[in-house]
C-alpha cells in the first residue's frame, strides 16, 4: 500500500503522455483514412482538400449539422458500448445488430400498446427494448455455452435471423394498419410516448442524453465495481482470471446480458426518438451496429472514447451527404474512409496478437471450449 500521490507535475505529465499514446493510433488511422478518401476524391476529379474541408463542415460545422450528426451518433454509441463491453471482457460478440433490431421491434410494439403519461410509457418501452436485446443475447450466450461454438460466429449468424424475424413480424403480424402508403413495411406510428427533441428545430432527441448517461454508467461499472474488475481481468488475461477464482461461465452470461441490454436500448431509443415506429431495415440499412464496432475499435473499448469516435463516424456520414449535395462528390467516399480506418485499427490487433504468439510462453486456450481465443 503506498500513499495516494497528489496530482503533481510528474503524474500529470505521465497521464498526458499515456493519453497521447492512446490517441496516436486512432489519430494516425483517421489521418490515413482521410488521405485515402482524398485520393479517391481527387481521382473523381474534385479538389481533395476543399472536399474534405466541406465534408467536416457538413458534419460538424453548424448547429444544424452538428445536431444531425448527434442524432445519427446516438444508436452508434449504444452499439459501440455493447461491443466494447463484450470484446473488452474477452467475449467477442458481433450480435449488436440483431439485439438492436429486436430491441427496436419490441419497443415499437410496447409503445403503441401501453397507455398512461408519456414518461411512464417511455420508461416502460425502453425497458421492454432492453429486455428484447437482453433475451436475444442470452440465446447467443446459451448456444455458445451449451454447444461450445464460437461466440463470434453464433452472434454473427443470429443477426440475420433477427433481421428476418423482424421483417416477417412487420410484414405479416404488426403491419401499420393506418398508413396512407401501403408500400412501406412498418409498424403503427407511436403517437404519445416518444422521446422529445432537446432543441426545437433540431432532430437531436433525449436518446442522446440517455446515451451520454449510459457512457458514464458503463465507465463507472468497468472502473469501480467488482463486476467490471472481473470483466476487465477476463479480457486482459482469461487464464489469470480463472486462476484468481473468477467463474468465467457466469461472467460470460453477465457480460453478454448487459451487452445485449445496451444494444436493445440503442434500438429502442432510435424508435422512440427518430423513427417513431419500427421500419423494416431501419437498423441494418444505416449499419449502426457495424459503425458501433468500428467506434469501439477506434477507442480501444474505452467508453468515453467510444462517445467521441461514434460522433466522428456519424459526422463522416452526414458530411458525406453534404459534399454530395454541394459538390456532387459521391457519398460513398465516407465508406472508403471508414473502411481504411477499420483496416488500420484492426492491423494493430493483428500485430498485438502476433507479438503475443512470438513470446516465450505460447498462449493455449483453456480446456473445454476456446471462447477467449480470438481476443488478443
Amino acid at each position: 500500500m503506498h500513499h495516494k500521490q497528489p496530482l503533481g507535475n510528474e503524474s500529470l505529465r505521465h497521464w498526458l503522455r499515456r493519453f497521447a499514446g492512446d490517441l496516436k493510433q486512432p489519430a494516425l488511422a483517421i489521418f490515413a483514412g482521410l488521405v485515402v478518401g482524398g485520393m479517391v476524391i481527387a481521382l473523381s476529379g474534385f479538389h481533395p482538400l476543399t472536399a474534405i474541408g466541406s465534408m467536416l463542415k457538413g458534419g460538424f460545422g453548424s448547429a444544424y449539422y452538428l445536431t444531425t450528426t448527434l442524432t445519427r451518433a446516438t444508436p452508434i454509441i449504444f452499439a459501440g458500448l455493447a461491443a466494447a463491453l463484450a470484446w473488452g471482457s474477452g467475449y467477442p460478440s458481433l450480435g449488436a445488430s440483431g439485439q438492436m433490431i429486436l430491441g427496436a421491434l419490441v419497443c415499437s410494439q410496447a409503445a403503441v400498446r401501453f397507455t398512461g403519461p408519456p414518461l411512464w410509457v417511455i420508461t416502460l418501452s425502453l425497458l421492454c427494448g432492453m429486455l428484447g436485446g437482453m433475451l436475444y443475447s442470452l440465446l447467443a450466450a446459451w448456444i455458445s455455452d451449451r454447444f461450445k461454438l464460437y461466440l463470434l460466429i453464433v452472434t454473427l449468424m443470429l443477426n440475420y435471423i433477427a433481421d428476418y424475424i423482424a421483417s416477417y413480424t412487420t410484414t405479416y403480424l404488426v403491419k401499420d394498419p393506418f398508413g396512407a402508403d401501403a408500400s412501406a413495411i412498418q409498424t403503427q406510428r407511436i403517437e404519445s410516448g416518444i422521446l422529445p427533441r432537446i432543441f426545437t428545430g433540431y432532430t437531436v432527441h433525449w436518446g442522446f442524453v440517455i446515451a451520454l448517461i449510459t457512457v458514464i454508467a458503463i465507465l463507472f461499472i468497468m472502473k469501480k465495481t467488482t463486476f467490471g474488475y472481473r470483466a476487465r481481468m477476463g479480457g486482459l488475461n482469461p487464464r489469470f482470471a480463472e486462476y484468481g477464482g473468477i467463474n468465467s461461465r457466469r461472467m460470460m452470461y453477465g457480460v453478454l446480458l448487459l451487452s445485449g441490454a445496451l444494444a436493445g436500448l440503442g434500438g429502442a431509443c432510435e424508435v422512440l426518438g427518430a423513427r417513431f415506429r419500427y421500419v423494416d431495415g431501419m437498423i441494418t440499412s444505416p449499419g449502426y451496429a457495424w459503425s458501433g464496432i468500428i467506434a469501439s475499435l477506434m477507442a480501444n473499448n474505452h467508453p468515453v472514447g467510444i462517445f467521441f469516435s461514434s460522433i466522428f463516424l456519424a459526422g463522416l456520414t452526414t458530411g458525406g451527404g453534404a459534399i454530395e449535395r454541394s459538390m456532387g462528390v459521391p457519398s460513398e467516399v465516407t465508406t472508403i474512409i471508414q473502411s481504411v480506418i477499420t483496416l488500420l485499427i484492426t492491423a494493430r490487433f493483428v500485430v498485438a496478437v502476433r507479438k503475443r504468439h512470438a513470446s516465450p510462453a505460447p498462449y493455449t486456450p483453456p480446456e473445454g471450449g476456446d471462447l477467449h481465443e480470438s481476443q488478443p
Binding site: 488521405v35 481527387a42 473523381s44 476529379g45 396512407a180 402508403d181 401501403a182 432532430t203 449535395r325 456532387g328
Partner: protein, 368 residues
C-alpha cells in the same frame, strides 16, 4: 523508432501523390460520364428564352442511389433539361441508407432549397413530417400519396394502364384459359395492377381464369422464379411480371430457363421498358414515366400553380404508359408473340380511355 519513421515517410509519399494527382487530373479529365453526379448550378439559360428570372430558385431531387436506374434517371434528366431552359439551380441527393431520406429532406430545407422532389415511395412519410416543419419549402413526392396535404403527391393511374396491357395480352394470347400473375405484396396499391390487367384480359377473353402469387418482397428474386415455374406447370403461358422492376429478374430468368426446356412462358415488365433482345420472352410492359411527373411538378411550381395534395396521372398525361402503345419505340419487339393486331387493339382502348369514353376504376379489394 525505425518503424514509425517508415510509416511517417510512407504517409508523406501518399500525400504528395494525392496532391500531384489532383493537380494534374482536375483540369485534364472531364467528369466521368457514367457517374450521375449532380451539377450544382447549371449555367443560366439565355435570358431572352425564359420570361422570368429563376436563377435564385433552388430545386433538389432526392432518390435512392441512381446508378443506371431508369426510373430515377428519367426524373434526373428532366430536372437537368428544365434547369437548362429556365436557369434555376439544382442538385441531386442520393440516399445510401433509409435514414437519409429524412436527413436529406431536412438538409435541403436548411440549405435554402425551394422545391424538393422525392422520387419513390420512401419519400412520402418523411416529407409529410417535414412539410409541417418547413412552411417555406415545397415538398413533392412521385409514386406515392403522402399523408400530409401540404405535400404534392403524384400517384399513377395503374388501373387504366394495366387494363390496356390486359387487352393487349388477351388479344395476343386468345386461346389461353389460365393467365399467371406474380406480384409483390397483396395490398390495395398492387390490387390496381391486378384488377386492371384481369379486366383487360376478360374484355377480350371473357372465360379467362387467373392465378395470383405474391412474394412479399420487392427484392427477392428466387420466389418469383419459383412461382413462374409453378404457374407454368399449372398451365399458364403468360405470366404478368408485377413484383418490381428489379425483382422481376427472377421471372425473366425462369422464362429463359423454361424456354430451354421447351415449355416457354411469356411475361411483361414494370416501371421502365424492360424488353430486350437478350430475353425475347419479355413482350411488353407497364411504364411509369417519372420524367413527365417531374416536368408537371416543376412547370406548375414555376407558374405558381403548384398546390399540395394528390394528383393521379395516367395515360392522358403520358405518366403511366404501356410499351408499344404509348411509346413509339421499344428496346425490342417480339413480333411473333406480339402481333400488330394486339398492339392495334391496345392502342384503340388507350385512345378510348384518353378520350374519356371508357373509365376503369379498381374497387377496394376487400369488396370483392
Amino acid at each position: 523508432m525505425k518503424k514509425s519513421r517508415f510509416f511517417a515517410l510512407s504517409l508523406l509519399l501518399v500525400f504528395s501523390i494525392v496532391t500531384l494527382v489532383s493537380g494534374c487530373a482536375s483540369p485534364a479529365s472531364p467528369p466521368a460520364p457514367e457517374a450521375p453526379a449532380a451539377e450544382t448550378a447549371a449555367p443560366p439559360a439565355t435570358p431572352a428564352a425564359s420570361e422570368a428570372d429563376f436563377s435564385h430558385l433552388k430545386v433538389a431531387l432526392i432518390s435512392d442511389p441512381i446508378g443506371t436506374e431508369q426510373f430515377i434517371l428519367q426524373a434526373y434528366h428532366k430536372v437537368e433539361e428544365m434547369a437548362g431552359i429556365h436557369g434555376f439551380q439544382w442538385t441531386s441527393m442520393e440516399c445510401s441508407d433509409t435514414a437519409q431520406w429524412e436527413e436529406n429532406g431536412r438538409a435541403a430545407a436548411n440549405e435554402g432549397y425551394d422545391l424538393v422532389i422525392g422520387v419513390g415511395w420512401q419519400a412520402a412519410e418523411p416529407f409529410s413530417a417535414l412539410a409541417d416543419e418547413f412552411d417555406h419549402v415545397h415538398y413533392a413526392v412521385i409514386d406515392a400519396i403522402a399523408g400530409n396535404d401540404k405535400v404534392t403527391s403524384i400517384g399513377f393511374n395503374e388501373t387504366e394502364g394495366c387494363y390496356v396491357l390486359g387487352v393487349m395480352i388477351g388479344t395476343a394470347f386468345p386461346d389461353e384459359t389460365l393467365y399467371g400473375y406474380v406480384g409483390s405484396f397483396q395490398t390495395q396499391a398492387t390490387y390496381k395492377y391486378r384488377y386492371g390487367f384481369s379486366e383487360g384480359v376478360k374484355s377480350v377473353n371473357p372465360d379467362a381464369e387467373f392465378m395470383y402469387n405474391y412474394t412479399n418482397s420487392y427484392s427477392d428474386t428466387s420466389l418469383p422464379y419459383e412461382y413462374t415455374t409453378q404457374q407454368q406447370a399449372a398451365g399458364a403461358t403468360f405470366i404478368f411480371g408485377g413484383v418490381a422492376a428489379s425483382a422481376n429478374a427472377g421471372i425473366y430468368q425462369a422464362a429463359l430457363d423454361l424456354a430451354q426446356r421447351g415449355t416457354p412462358v411469356y411475361t411483361t415488365g414494370l416501371s421502365v421498358d424492360q424488353t430486350t433482345p437478350d430475353n425475347p420472352y419479355i413482350i411488353g410492359g407497364a411504364l411509369k414515366n417519372t420524367g413527365s411527373c417531374t416536368e408537371i411538378i416543376i412547370s406548375q411550381y414555376l407558374d405558381g400553380t403548384l398546390s399540395g395534395g394528390a394528383q393521379i396521372l395516367g395515360l392522358k398525361e403520358n405518366a403511366f404508359g404501356v410499351v408499344h402503345v404509348t411509346t413509339d419505340t421499344a428496346n425490342y419487339l417480339n413480333e411473333e408473340m406480339m402481333p400488330p393486331e394486339a398492339i392495334e387493339a391496345a392502342k384503340a382502348v388507350a385512345a378510348k380511355i384518353i378520350a374519356g369514353e371508357l373509365e376503369i376504376i379498381a374497387p377496394e379489394e376487400s369488396a370483392n
